[in-house]
Symmetry: C2
């Protein structure tokens, strides 16, 4: 852990103030994303205007940079003593060492789901988290084209549009299904590593996907027969939908702390579990450890509730399902300096 | 073709009236889906109420039936001379023969994306189409939890929320990318056939998915290196997002005419192409035929525009991409009586 050796504490009152600030910041940043889509639509559709030469990649770069600057400046102005990390923190070509210390650090993705954004597919968002002592204590995710604002703060629960507490279907969710991953919605992403060799992350992921999808008798007994396989193209929104209870399981490797920090806060505040995607060697019996923010390997399980028949409690059902996923998961290969 | 031998014609004026009726019907049916989600949330979360014994499957069945009855009765009352087909048209266990004749026929899915609906994941919708002479001439798709109403009518274009003409980004979309399927968002669904044998539809689909995802040098030169892989769990919304221009390609087998009829109308009115997912034997040179509504095999390409540099026109770029997908597609095995 890349800490300072000093534990930091933020009072609940102070956290409340920061939470309000973060929500407003998310709303304002999301509006910038909406404006960018609208100006692209209007500008490029006017037949009397000279055709803009800007392509989709330029638009992402421009929007990403503008929203990043806005968020960074707003935070620096309001909380100059806090640290700030996002993808722009790293110079091009630099190895992405894990830089989050124990001091209050904003971990931000100004635009998650960039490919969706260039296509005006609504699954894109801004993601803003405050991390203290390595733990995300505030998370704000705003998907403006979906009109969905997700927010969470340590001890205050997770919310949709500030009015609906998550998980959305509340205690009717119960524990995870008895035969999970059967009856579950499994969310996963294909990612950017597309090398076609048996050892590539592409093939490790596909092996895992097919294990999860196959009939129970298939894959040498590893068939998970999940109810549905979903891929949205946004790790951040995958986590938001886990918090919402809309997805039961999310398994992913290769993304970074700015993709997941806000989502982890949401899932934990909603009552879900986040741990590593890569099965430990003693996966059948080990303690289910808390996720490493910079570990690039994530497994999230939706919020659960105790069985009303006196059977399994919520946490027991979640731990059972973590192991059921690990059993079927091929270990992914995403290393990084500074994180074991 | 299971026709009556008689061609039917509906005037534009008459079609306008029916279109308004269909849009209102979609809105009302969508409201019923919203109400069902809300009553589930409220009813099951009240601690002072006895716990309802209804599980997620019961809720789907009940909602599906109620919305189906509402739509069916509304249409029968307003247009008693029209035919009506949806999944309920078939008794359980009956082989699903293709029953759409040339006479005006409403083809309806009261709830597409049922697994999403049970999980309160927003990607579910109602789908209403009017088919005349085997062609969908009106399509209405309403996803109430997304606040997205898609509608199209022969000759009147395709629309989002009645105000935004599709494709959303207009002519800035241009032709399909030169190296397509590279740079494309590819939408696909894993489906319900989960048999783990090399010849199953699961493995045929996965082979195709991996072809589309792999680096260009991979898969013996078949690597498509698509920009993104997406799976929403709703064939209807896949087509709506093709019409919107948010997805470039959708390739799918196994669904039915009520899943696609409204979406096909939307895609065609927006300027897209829908044909068969299964490559013909002469796929490199054959005419790109129009989709068979009941063929259970669908390939949709997004709306396109002529290149401004005098190169490829829209249709040429779409036909090129159809063949690029066929080149990488393993033939799926979904037969049905009455459709060759």
């Amino acid at each position: 852990m890349n800490g300072t050796g000093q534990r930091h504490s933020i009072s609940d009152a102070e956290l409340n103030t920061i939470y309000s600030f973060a929500i407003q910041l998310g709303k304002d940043a999301g509006q910038m994303l909406t404006d960018a889509i609208n100006s692209r639509r209007q500008g490029l559709n006017k037949p009397d205007l000279p055709e803009e030469k800007m392509n989709a990649v330029d638009i992402v770069t421009k929007t990403d940079t503008e929203v990043e600057q806005f968020i960074h400046e707003s935070i620096s102005h309001q909380y100059p003593e806090h640290a700030f990390i996002d993808e722009e923190t790293y110079s091009k070509g630099q190895s992405k060492q894990y830089l989050v210390t124990d001091k209050p650090t904003w971990v931000v993705d100004p635009l998650d789901g960039t490919v969706n954004f260039t296509h005006a597919f609504p699954m894109f968002c801004v993601s803003i988290a405050l991390v203290v002592n390595q733990k995300p204590v505030i998370g704000v995710i705003y998907a403006p084209m979906l009109n969905q604002l997700f927010s969470a703060c340590r001890g205050k629960g997770a919310w949709l549009n500030e009015t609906t507490q998550l998980p959305m279907l509340g205690k009717s969710l119960g524990p995870l299904p008895k035969n999970a991953p059967g009856k579950c919605i499994f969310s996963c992403e294909w990612g950017k590593d597309r090398r076609d060799n048996p050892n590539s992350n592409l093939h490790r992921k596909v092996d895992t996907f097919v294990n999860m999808a196959s009939e129970p008798s298939g894959r040498g007994g590893l068939g998970g027969m999940v109810h549905g396989m979903r891929s949205l193209g946004s790790a951040t929104l995958d986590l938001a939908y886990i918090a919402m209870g809309s997805f039961d399981l999310w398994w992913e490797g290769g993304c970074w702390e700015w993709d997941v920090a806000a989502g982890i806060c949401l899932v934990q505040e909603a009552g879900g579990v986040v741990t590593t995607a890569n099965p430990p060697h003693d996966w059948q019996t080990c303690d289910i450890g808390e996720v490493k923010l910079g570990g690039r390997s994530y497994l999230a399980i939706r919020p659960a509730f105790d069985a009303t028949d006196g059977g399994e409690n919520a946490r027991q059902s979640q731990e059972r399902v973590v192991r059921e996923v690990w059993k079927r998961a091929v270990k992914l290969d995403y290393e990084r300096p500074g994180v074991s």
